[in-house]
């Protein structure tokens, strides 16, 4: 089984340096992209590969690139923003790439810059990723020194700059337009769409925003072709996927597996199943902002379409497991506290709804719950439905809440009835 994303990752945890990256075929794709292929061909190749955005939304990457206006009289310069603000709770997949193989992200970003006939890429990095920052900085320096970045890259006549920006921190910075505002030094509120960033993005210029894992796939697609990439997958979406598992499984971790691997295989084979004496009660398939699924859904293929059939989303593909010795109300409270806290405070449903939901959950967990609370919680999840809010944060926050109310309703009712959390703290 091919594992293009992680094949180079060193078992000792050190980063792949430029030499090792080059020995393993690194920057050949960039060379090809600059000297052998036209930007249009790059976009077509990525389109054909069925690469979909790995940040969680699954937007087709090639299509996104193709929406950037190019040609005479279109706005200049154009930018790529690399979303390395991995702040989704339970998600740690980009970190592996950033720390272990930073050149793969840089090369992917450089190719993206070329594809949109842009001039620069900005890597927006989560503030807590200190090690990744050090390694990216070193790798960017190496790439400049070797002529893979800078002026007239590889004699192609193209200039490609890559800048590293360390986030001051906030979940909202990971929302692509919040990220743009943060890059510009503004409050990380989401922006009005339309216009979309491909038309008016960073500093008002056309901008493509791609996730780290997405971009790390790009050099491999350019090197090996779209057909090869599609062949890696067990589903319609191309490629491999970094899947992860956290919670009380035997071996929490991260694995590169074919796209469309089932949740059961991830949890039972790779994560080694539940710890002894514990049973799986539910799981969040791809980060905190996805709906809970339960044991009956374990055979779902983890990709962008299959998981949706069961009322959830693959999201980032990093599973959070809820076991039968952990209070589901407590877990939901923890999640909603996070989302309420990270609401930027811009639109009313989000800032009021999530703060209210958090307070209700806290009351239930503290034994102060009332019968009507569950109705109120359900009403809030509808209040913050997609379209009602300004961005996707609150609808995402509603996903674990609405599904917890569906699958663990008895636990909520018991808290209210017994006026306490029945789980030992």
């Amino acid at each position: 089984m091919e594992k293009p994303l992680t094949a180079r990752i060193r078992p000792d945890g050190e980063a792949v340096d430029l030499k090792a990256y080059e020995r393993a075929g690194g920057y050949q794709a960039l060379r090809k992209a600059l000297l052998e292929k036209s930007p249009k061909e790059l976009i077509e190749e990525v389109k054909d590969s069925n690469l979909r955005g790995r940040g969680g939304a699954g937007f087709p990457t090639g299509l996104k690139w193709s929406l950037v206006p190019t040609g005479d009289g279109t706005p200049q310069p154009r930018y790529v923003a690399v979303n390395a603000d991995e702040m989704e709770p339970g998600t740690f997949k980009d970190r592996l790439l950033l720390e272990g193989d930073p050149h793969s992200v840089i090369e992917g970003a450089a190719i993206a810059v070329r594809a949109i006939e842009g001039s620069a890429a900005y890597i927006f990095l989560r503030g807590e990723y200190v090690l990744a920052a050090q390694r990216l900085r070193r790798a960017i320096g190496e790439a400049y020194a070797a002529g893979y970045l800078g002026k007239n890259v590889l004699g192609s006549g193209c200039d490609i700059e890559v800048h590293l920006h360390i986030s001051a921190g906030r979940y909202m910075c990971g929302e692509e337009t919040g990220l743009l505002n943060a890059l510009e030094g503004k409050r990380a509120n989401p922006r009005t769409k339309p216009p979309f960033p491909v038309a008016s993005g960073l500093w008002g210029k056309p901008t493509v925003i791609n996730n780290v894992e997405t971009l790390a796939n790009v050099p491999h697609i350019i090197n090996n072709g779209a057909e090869w990439f599609k062949s890696l997958s067990r589903s319609k979406d191309g490629g491999t996927k970094l899947y992860g598992a956290s919670g009380k499984v035997k071996r929490p971790g991260l694995w590169e597996l074919p796209m469309g691997t089932t949740a059961r295989e991830i949890l039972e084979e790779h994560a080694g199943g539940m710890r002894d004496g514990l049973k799986l009660r539910g799981f969040l398939p791809g980060g905190a902002s996805t709906d809970f699924l339960t044991a009956e859904h374990l055979d779902v293929k983890m990709d962008f379409t299959e998981v949706q059939k069961f009322g959830s989303r693959m999201g980032t593909g990093t599973i959070i497991v809820l076991d039968d010795a952990t209070c589901p109300v407590g877990m939901t409270l923890n999640l909603e506290h996070f989302f309420a806290q990270e609401s930027c405070g811009w639109c009313t449903p989000c800032w009021s709804g999530l703060s209210w939901a958090e307070r209700i959950l806290q009351a239930i967990e503290d034994g102060r719950g009332e019968d009507r609370d569950l109705d109120d919680l359900e009403a809030i999840t509808k209040f913050v439905a997609p379209g009602n809010t300004f961005c996707a944060l609150a609808p995402g926050a509603a996903e674990p809440l609405q599904s917890a109310l569906k699958y663990f309703r008895g636990d909520f009712e018991r808290h209210i009835r017994e006026k306490r959390c029945p789980w030992p703290s």
């Binding site: 216009p195 008016s200 008002g204 800032w351 703060s355 209210w356 009602n388």
Partner: protein
């Protein structure tokens, strides 16, 4: 025009507008918070949600925000859809989660947009059962009170303050339901437009701190349509009074002038009306006499002859005209400083010459390339500065046309435009508050500023500053030149006109005072001539109308005038140097206690009406003069009793004022037989407020001068714009009720805008003065230019305590080089024969040879500035 369907009925709609705007224009009751007609849409509050359907077959539909959705052809929406109704109710529930439930004791209650919208959406039971979040409030200065617990996070305050008005020190902090809108630390808000927060805030976070000193509910105030008296722009205001004191001023929308906003001087300067310095009694040689005796004295003086009258640029046309009638046209003098009078007359000539078009503030806002020639607009005509701040957005917005972002989509436009600014050039001797938006700033002495503007008129070389300015204006679609009387320099006035004419630009002059234009149009001699008349014995009695001559001429000259006059009569509001020297002092009604007409800097005559009846012997200056004329046997004064009679006589005597009567309907005007009430229909205490005097409620006072009644009774519909005392509509108690008074949101008021432009281009009065020689610095001397202060330089507002608290004391402004050469914190300067020791204020950028002193602030009142000041020790 597009056809859109609202709840299955077709309506015409302008597709360039958004659905909220269209729905409100059509009269629908669609609630909103974050949207503001002048600030555009941002989609934050989600209150204006409606259900949108794809087509007739679509029964599902989806919720959209009306403010964020264009009124495109064929759009189908439902306001009454149950999902939309419920969602809007839930939004209010969310907003009310943390909002105090204390409307009865909240000072916004009764004019609170949140209160209105809560009632409108039908939210009446709150399910939220937890503690409300609380904040610590900040001290924000004397104008604006801060009560953050009421905040509903609509972001209007920061959008107005930062994005629209260019302020920097108000911001939002933190997140979730605890976003804090305030300053980094307590302190006076820096923007001179901070008072608009009071109206922009949909609830009571930002309230009028001066109103709080003498609080009254909106429904308990009596109002009248008024005109701001504190600069030459003539912003429309709605002052409110109760128990014989003026309580506050709010904006009265005028689409061509002030739009939705006022400056803080205009909003807070009103307290001079309540000042302890108010003259309320008639005095004769220091002793109080009654009103009839005062009239008797004045009539005796008039009958004795040898009387001259000195008018005033801060008095109404009618008051000035009555004085002119009382003393005779030949004995009427204008009451401005002589050089200022010459400048204003020349400006009026230029405005009439047709050399350039005369823009309204709305036109200024839409200008796309601006050259400001020697006028510190932010301090002399602040509301114009707010319009100028919008002008720099015009070219950048045009440059992103390809993105097809509707202009109302405010954040999207701002994100696309970023910090790009259109061409904006300033020539000024000292830094101004508009420098931050300027493409280029030229610091120069007044004569050199004039030289630059003359050069701009001729320039062809694009590498010189003048050439760049000329090119920018020439390449613009709506170029504008702004100048004024601020630097008291005839060459600047001339050069600005020359530049505007050469570049095809509009031309706006800032004038010194509220009725400078009106007074200059009336004619009259100079002060020097008045002084000569008295000195030469041709005149024995001097009547000074609403004017402190110590602000018009050097103290020695005024002292000499008063010494040689046998009798001095002063009619004024506040005690001042002139009233102190007068034998007869007559208490004159202020703008709030009288009706009359001011002519603004566009030459637009606008009527203001009496707000309340003052305590004491106070009456309108024109009534004192008319009563005295009658008593002196001048029967022609009989026709000058009522305002309409005065205006008629004025138009007959001076044909250039023939159209002044068009500024507002006459006193006889009635709507279905009724007058327009000054008081809201909920006005309370009517039967009780005079109970200590008489238990039977007296008849309301008559108002012979207007179609307004001192009553809560009268016509209950919408009066014509010049007669709108306050904005209120059923269900709309806040200032946002204004929406109901417009045909189209942000357009003119129903019935057309008020005011009448008196100046008609006549092609006369072409170029006069030539190019002055270059400024030559002098050894040991500096040219002292007047430095204007929005708070402090204007005579009346500086007696309002809140404004006074922000006014600077006297100082001497020196360049850093001069300050260093001087090496001391204070400096001694001789000017006009007097020596002053003053604290030094260092102002970076003052040109070589130039220093500054605060305009209109003692001891620099009455001096003709700029003037050379001699320093005892200065290189």
């Amino acid at each position: 025009m597009a056809t859109i369907y609202i709840d299955n009925k077709p309506y015409d709609a302008d597709p360039s507008r958004n659905l909220l705007d269209v729905c409100l224009s059509l009269g629908f009751r669609l609630p909103y918070f974050c949207w503001h007609p002048a600030l555009g849409s941002v989609g934050a509050c989600r209150q204006c949600a409606v259900k949108q359907f794809k087509d007739e077959q679509d029964t599902q539909g989806k919720l959209v925000m009306a403010c964020m959705t264009p009124a495109a052809e064929g759009t189908r929406i439902s306001i009454d859809d149950p999902d939309a109704v419920e969602f809007r109710r839930n939004i209010i529930q969310g907003l009310m989660m943390n909002h105090p439930h204390d409307c009865p004791v909240c000072d916004e209650g009764g004019e609170c947009h949140l209160q209105d919208m809560t009632v409108m959406t039908g939210h009446d039971y709150r399910r939220y059962r937890f503690d409300k979040r609380t904040f610590r409030n900040q001290y924000l200065g004397p104008f604006v009170n801060h009560e953050m617990n009421r905040c509903i996070q609509c972001y209007r305050c920061v959008r107005f303050y930062r994005d629209y008005a260019g302020g920097r020190d108000l911001d939002c902090f933190a997140l979730r339901d605890i976003v804090y809108f305030g300053r980094r630390e307590d302190g006076v808000l820096e923007s001179e437009f901070s008072g608009n927060l009071v109206e922009v805030c949909p609830t009571g976070v930002f309230t009028d701190a001066t109103l709080k000193q003498h609080y009254t509910r909106k429904w308990d105030l009596e109002f009248a349509p008024s005109i701001c008296a504190h600069c030459s722009l003539g912003c429309n205001t709605s002052p409110g009074a109760r128990y014989g004191t003026l309580r506050r001023i709010v904006n009265r929308y005028h689409s061509e002038i002030n739009g939705y906003f006022l400056c803080d001087r205009g909003r807070y300067g009103y307290e001079f009306v309540n000042s302890p310095l108010r003259i309320r009694d008639v005095t004769w040689q220091g002793g109080v006499i009654d009103g009839a005796a005062g009239v008797e004295r004045l009539s005796t003086l008039l009958a004795a002859g040898k009387v001259i009258g000195i008018g005033s640029p801060r008095a109404s046309l009618e008051a000035n005209f009555l004085l002119r009638e009382a003393v005779g046209a030949a004995n009427f003098f204008a009451g401005m400083a002589d050089d200022e009078l010459r400048l204003v007359r020349r400006i009026l000539e230029i405005m009439q010459s047709g050399m350039a078009s005369v823009p309204s503030l709305r036109d200024i806002e839409l200008s796309d390339a601006v050259f400001v020639v020697g006028e510190d607009v932010s301090n002399t005509a602040p509301r114009m500065a707010l319009s100028l701040r919008q002008s720099v957005r015009q070219q950048p917005i045009r440059s992103i046309e390809k993105l097809r972002i509707p202009v109302w989509n405010d954040n999207a436009v701002r994100d696309a435009v970023q910090s790009a600014k259109g061409p904006f050039y300033i020539a000024s001797p000292y830094p101004t508050r508009l420098d931050g938006i300027a493409t280029e700033v030229c610091r120069a002495a007044p004569d050199d500023i004039a030289r630059l503007a003359f050069e701009v008129a001729e320039a062809s070389d694009e590498n010189s500053p003048a050439g760049r300015i000329a090119a920018a204006l020439r390449n613009a679609q709506r170029p504008l030149v702004v100048s004024g009387t601020g630097l008291n320099n005839a060459a600047i006035v001339e050069a600005a006109a020359r530049a505007a004419q050469a570049l095809g630009a509009a031309l706006s002059y800032v004038l010194p005072e509220v009725n400078s234009a009106g007074l200059a149009m009336m004619g009259g001699g100079t002060l020097a001539e008045a002084m000569e008349a008295v000195r030469g014995g041709a005149a024995e009695t001097v009547i000074v109308l609403e004017n402190d001559l110590y602000r018009r001429a050097p103290a020695e000259a005024v002292d000499a005038l008063f010494r040689s006059a046998r009798h001095v009569v002063a009619l004024d509001h506040l005690t001042n140097g002139t009233t102190a020297r007068a034998d007869l002092v007559l208490p004159a009604a202020t703008f709030a206690e009288s009706a009359g007409t001011f002519v603004n800097n566009e030459g637009r005559a606008q009527r203001f009406f009496q707000v309340f009846i003052p305590h004491g012997e106070i009456q309108e200056s024109r009534r004192w003069l008319r009563d005295a004329m009658l008593a002196a046997g001048r029967i022609e004064a009989e026709a000058l009793d009522r305002l309409d009679g005065v205006i008629g006589a004025l138009g007959r005597a001076l044909p250039r004022f023939a159209r002044v009567h068009e500024a507002a309907p006459p006193a006889a005007f009635r709507l279905v037989g009724k007058k327009v009430p000054r008081e809201p229909h909920r006005y309370s205490g009517r039967t009780a407020m005079l109970a200590n005097i008489t238990v039977s409620e007296p008849k309301p006072p008559e108002d012979p001068d207007s179609a307004l009644a001192f009553s809560m009774e009268g016509y209950s519909g919408q009066p014509p714009p010049p007669l709108i005392p306050f904005f209120w509509a059923p269900g709309w108690n806040s200032i946002q009720s204004l929406n109901r008074f417009q045909e189209e949101i942000a357009g003119p008021l129903r019935g057309g805008e008020s005011g009448v432009r008196l100046l008609v281009p006549n092609g006369a009065g072409q170029q006069q003065a030539g190019v002055p020689p270059a400024f030559q610095p002098r050894n040991g001397e500096r040219l002292l230019v007047p430095v204007y202060h929005v708070f402090g330089s204007e005579e009346l507002s500086r007696e309002a305590p809140a404004v006074a608290s922000l006014a600077p004391g006297p100082y001497l402004a020196l360049s850093p080089e001069d300050a260093k050469a001087l090496g001391e914190d204070t400096a001694e300067v001789s000017i006009g024969g007097k020596t002053h020791r003053l604290p030094v204020l260092v102002i970076s950028g003052l040109p070589e040879g130039v220093a500054g002193v605060p305009a209109g602030i003692p001891p620099f009142t009455g001096l003709s500035l700029p003037a050379w000041g001699k320093f005892s020790r200065m290189p």
